[in-house]
Symmetry: C2
Subunit: 458 residues, 2 copies
């Protein structure tokens, strides 16, 4: 079909209504749908219902909340178009906890426009991105209907590793047939430079708890003779990686796919420079494994981050305690062809080896996600490239991403559907940190890109 002429009506509808779209997005960001926090369970549910009502209001006849073991999936489907593929759009309506409130310039759930930005937890990750697809679909519906069958699937547990998703995909398999999943939960390098994410790192989280005496003790009376769980924990963590950033768990790198020099040259040409990545991180200094660029270290190489540590007394006053226990959380990012279960086994064996017998220790693994890759030549990637060029007026960069989207390997494994990741977040959006924001000119272009994508795959 002639994509360019068919898109004229929905594109002009979107342009005419963009201010309303932003107001609606603001309402969505206002809902504190923190999926990981039981105190916000009702808010998460309310968010799902808000989206479902909104979709029904667009005239979509088939809108459902699909129950899962955790938060529900929001599902909607337009009628199939005979002889045309079905595109499923995936996103998530849960958000990260806001973290320390004091670090926010405006409250995380009172979305605020400042300049060209909408600030608020979830504005970029992932409410702004999923809403662009909803508004693209609305634009098609108001212009006579989309040229392909469209399914929407929004989950409420992405930020906790999508624990219920794979089982739900199995349970609702008959509803969820599609040719491709369009996922927007990834970054683009800069405003006006769209990107298609061709690889995701996997993720494996664990918590280590080290226990010494039954209660906190006086560090003078007992210091030197009773194990110090904090010091032990530090020693154990120090065995996980060397000071150059190389992970020192035995056999950890065995399964890591070495990336060809051709691919690395492409990365160097297209990906962010070290300086750009530092600027995105608002950090002064890089770090990590030798002989790789900073971007390579975050994409084609695995990493290990201690995401939290706590023990003893660090509050006001000077309690000189020998702590009874200490714990840390670690997040490992995996690359092809590492398998989370294999890596967990290596870590468990490592811990058993390095943990001193003088303490009791517990190792708890959390959810894990496999890494993902799609070929640059895949026809759906090609369609997305054309849509990006039209939506942004610029060619899309094809880049790997350091983050993980648990749903993507699940779609592949459970439903056999490949995912195309077209991300609309900017690297300095503050995803997971304070002052998260979404760049509104990108929102407008994202709606256009989504409108084009449905035409390009038709």
């Amino acid at each position: 079909m002639k994509a360019s002429s068919a898109t004229a009506a929905p594109l002009s509808f979107a342009e005419a209504n963009v201010d309303r779209f932003v107001r609606e997005l603001t309402d969505l960001v206002r809902i504190p749908s923190i999926g990981s926090d039981a105190r916000h369970a009702a808010d998460v549910r309310r968010c799902a219902q808000w989206i479902a009502s909104h979709l029904a209001g667009l005239g979509i006849a088939d809108v459902r909340l699909l129950p899962t073991a955790g938060h529900p999936l929001v599902f909607a489907a337009t009628p199939p178009v005979p002889g045309r593929p079905v595109v499923m759009v995936y996103g998530h309506y849960d958000v990260q906890p806001p973290g320390p409130i004091a670090a926010w310039q405006t409250p995380p759930f009172r979305p605020a426009r400042r300049g060209a930005w909408l600030f608020g937890r979830g504005a970029s990750d992932d409410k702004g991105q999923l809403f662009a697809h909803i508004k693209a679909l609305e634009s098609w519906i108001r212009s006579g209907g989309p040229p392909v069958g469209v399914k929407l699937l929004f989950e409420g547990e992405e930020e906790i590793g999508s624990p219920s998703l794979a089982a739900a995909l199995r349970a609702y398999r008959s509803l969820l047939g599609a040719h491709v999943v369009m996922v927007s939960d990834s970054p683009m390098p800069a405003p006006g430079r769209p990107a298609i994410t061709t690889a995701l790192r996997g993720s494996l989280g664990f918590e280590i708890e080290v226990r010494g005496a039954r209660e906190d003790l006086h560090s003078g009376i007992f210091g030197g003779a009773i194990p110090d769980p904090i010091e032990v924990l530090c020693h154990v963590i120090a065995t996980l990686g060397d000071r150059s950033g190389r992970i020192t768990v035995s056999r950890f790198y065995d399964a890591v796919r070495e990336v060809s020099s051709t691919e690395r040259r492409a990365l160097a040409a297209t990906g962010p420079s070290d300086q750009q990545l530092l600027s995105d991180a608002r950090a002064q200094t890089g770090w990590g494994e030798r002989n790789f660029t900073l971007f390579e270290k975050t994409t084609i190489r695995p990493s290990l981050t201690v995401t939290g540590i706590r023990g003893g007394h660090t509050g006001p006053g000077d309690r000189t305690v020998l702590a009874a226990s200490a714990r840390a959380r670690v997040n490992v990012r995996l690359v092809p062809n590492q398998r989370p279960d294999d890596v967990a086994r290596l870590l468990a064996r490592h811990m058993a080896r390095v943990m001193p017998a003088s303490v009791r220790a517990t190792l708890r693994f959390g959810r894990s996600t496999r890494p993902y890759q799609i070929a640059r030549e895949h026809p759906m990637v090609r369609a997305a490239m054309r849509a990006c060029r039209k939506g942004f007026g610029a060619p899309a960069a094809l880049l790997p991403m350091g983050g993980s989207v648990a749903a993507v390997p699940a779609f592949q494994d459970v439903l056999g559907i490949p995912s195309v990741l077209v991300g609309f977040g900017l690297p300095d959006d503050g995803k997971h940190g304070p002052n998260e924001r979404f760049y509104l000119p990108t929102f407008r272009r994202a709606v256009a890109t989504s409108i084009h994508f449905l035409a390009e795959v038709a």
Copy 2:
């Protein structure tokens, strides 16, 4: 003078009034005089006033609150006895913060009697102990007056390292002349086994803060390329000591006095066994420097304890952040002849050497205290030994202690007065931990011992 006949009257007064004494102590423990917590500044002051009023009520004419740069000293003096020495009793009315309230069986500042114990923060450390001396003095006063001049000096900042004490001792030097300071802020090995502490470890505290990026970052997008302050902090802490418990800061042990085999045999004969110390700590396993008993490790050897660590996210939910900063507090205990300033220099040099250039780090030293020793043959130690034998009906063990009492080196350095440390705390009193308690049969014997001591030195 014939000590034994002179003590009959005060001893029988004390026996007759012990129940009232315990009720009064309960009132004292009820005051949340947490010296390190600015929110409790008024409570600390109220505690000082409570004690001063109580002393005035005993008929002591000279009772004062002596202002300092921090919390006031409570001072009282009975008239000097011509030709007899002056004994100064030192204690502290400030207490440690209670720590996690959930770990307490009854609230820390609602003192509760269970069995032979009085539970409450400060019951043992140090309110119960200083109150025994007040009640001994009351018993003498009600029996015609003490046989020596007695001064009482109670401070409100012991638990934060007595930051104002040395300056206050200099400022009030003319008031504070004495021949010996009786200090009760140390443990005895078991009920019925009194102890005189002949050595104290010194103490040096510091905080390390490590900073990476300006804000918390997404561990997927940036993990591997931006320094992880928590991991760096763990690496740095791991360089401070080896896994056997030996401190690995260069030249750290240079000044440590080697203890003779004779002294070590005496320690082995008198001090707690490894098993006893583990039982006191309610710990399953010991730890630390090779070739020393557990008790030696806590007394004649220095130690290093990480008293607190914090960074990133450890609360509910799974925020996979690459933290912007992390910090830890460390407490080093020193033995003769280590000097805190020298050790601080060694630590600062060590930190400068091991801290990677990829992060910014701050090292902040807190208060320090010198170690202390008194000869076993000192006449005041001998007088205290006789008093203990009479008060407890058992010989006193002469033992070093792993804790620090900042006032003791200050009395020596500023006023030239030696301290005799007769402690009434039990090792499992829960000092600094939850469920702190004081053993009331000891309180009764402590009052008797203090009555005897004043006679023995006369």
